[in-house]
Symmetry: C2
Subunit: 324 residues, 2 copies
């Protein structure tokens, strides 16, 4: 452990799959101590491997003073993981009953001022709070994006017991980790980003299912076109520019009627064995014989370089303070 | 005009709005002569302004030998625009009857070996060919992405009269312009990329309409998260990585059932005056007092830098030839 640590410097990472390990890597790089817990003692191997993958990218991005992989402590003892932590991040499998009992257990064990974030991609925070008897309002959704140690977005969603001030205060914990908290105004399944990705994903599956495109072609339609813009601008600002000097108002006048067209296939296709095969073998073809670890390392080299570029275009660089 | 020009070096740009002007800028930067036509003589101002916007970004990317803005010739005389062109690109407003008669007119006037591409974002090529009496098969969809002079994707779609070989040969015209042609296997309204963007857009409108997020928050959910990946990987390869070493197959087993959940709102919301106001004023807020021209220049600076990064990760750099 490094010197001058305050309770703010310890994060408990509960569940050490890809997402939990990503949180651990991010926190270590930010100079924090990580107390990682998993009921399976072999999870320490996944954790170490994921940090092996993450560390070069994090080092290129720049480590905080005092950052060290030696500040990682793995345990299968929940109390040991929670001791002294001021931020607890839960990353259990996406099953409601499992998360509910685990979070109730954590809520009963940690002091009331400790924030408990869940990495759930789809479950609403009120459901996560349902079995908590101690301070349910501090159990919130804190949904990151893979790779957690590089992508800055974290969606923060409060449940029925959460006060707005509690949620705002939660933001500082994640800013400490170098992230950009997005406070979601209303809880819905899938929060915001996964709703968008799900819509894209359903349509992509239809295109493949209908024989319009292979997975590679669908992906090419993203990465050589709109995807190059999406690192800088979302769908609204993009369409604002598409409207010319009249901006979004003109765009809505011009293209609004197209929303009435039955373009998109609105329900997901049946995942038949044939579709599974087509999607899986298409993706494997795209991988081109490279392992997932190789693809991850490649992705991380890219994202590090991309971030160096795109960060210079974020609002604060242009004097637009107070924005996400 | 510069020396040693062959017929391959002349592009007729038909219709000089944002998209037509983008084609003109791209062709000029590639060292070609551009014969631009618009029925409105004032369109030359839009054309010049758009090229003013594009040229610094194109210059930073590197101009082809002999590239010059002096190779641009604007006319309101269709025959003059078409004379000697070996590639005609139609960019008229998105109205079927207008495009059909314009394309029939062009088809009647140019030699049979000349390719005629339409920039339509939604109309099927068989509909575009319907009134062509000369060589309807060479009238194809060649759908670019804004800004046309920087984004490399062009979707090529043949109609019922188009031979596969004709479509493949068309690709070389667009490669000459530094683009990456994506040949679409079957004609559908919206081709591929706009189907995906439309699905995202519908869901984004629902999130705003339901009060879950502002336009700024929806955009933030893209640009600080998934959007950083989409410049490199599409939805399939992204999910392949999300599956861990088991890749897409594991991912489909694990998350396939989520497709049955009623997450996404499947039909577009009514564009009420309230929703139009919310979407438009949200986008204007995001613009932060900057004009669309300023936002375009900023976007272009960014995309130039981004492309320098991402191009080094494209398949050919990794010995994966023959891919999009």
């Amino acid at each position: 452990m490094s010197q001058a640590q305050t309770p703010k410097d310890t994060m408990a990472v509960i569940g050490c799959g890809v997402i939990g390990s990503g949180w651990a890597a991010r926190a270590l790089a930010a100079g924090m101590t990580v107390q990682a817990w998993d009921p399976n003692p072999e999870a320490v191997t996944i954790l170490q491997n994921q940090i092996d993958t993450a560390w070069p990218a994090l080092s290129r991005r720049g480590l905080a003073e005092g950052a060290s992989r030696d500040n990682l402590h793995f345990t299968t003892d929940l109390d040991q993981a929670l001791a002294g932590a001021d931020l607890v991040q839960e990353n259990a499998p996406e099953r409601l009953s499992l998360k509910q009992s685990l979070l109730a257990d954590i809520d009963a064990r940690v002091p009331e001022q400790v924030l408990i974030g869940s990495s759930t991609s789809g479950i609403k925070p009120s459901e996560l709070q349902a079995q908590c008897r101690h301070v349910p309002g501090r159990v919130i959704v804190a949904h990151p994006f893979n790779p957690v140690y590089l992508l800055p977005l974290v969606e923060l969603v409060g449940g029925e017991h959460t006060e707005p001030a509690q949620l705002a205060a939660a933001g500082t914990h994640y800013e400490r980790l170098g992230m950009r908290p997005l406070i979601v105004r209303r809880e819905i399944e899938g929060h915001i980003a996964d709703r968008l990705m799900e819509a894209l994903w359903r349509e992509a599956l239809h295109l493949v299912n209908d024989g319009v495109a292979t997975t590679e072609e669908v992906d090419a339609a993203i990465v050589y076109g709109a995807g190059l813009r999406w690192a800088l601008m979302g769908t609204f600002l993009t369409f604002h520019l598409a409207g010319g000097e009249g901006g979004m108002r003109h765009m809505l006048e011009q293209f609004g009627p197209a929303l009435k067209l039955p373009w998109t296939r609105l329900e997901a296709p049946e995942l038949t064995p044939e579709l599974v095969e087509r999607v899986a073998s298409g993706s494997e073809f795209q991988a081109g014989g490279r392992s997932v670890a190789e693809l991850e390392a490649r992705r991380d080299r890219f994202l590090g370089e991309l971030l160096e570029v795109v960060e210079r275009y974020w609002p604060e660089q242009e004097g637009l303070g107070g924005r996400i």
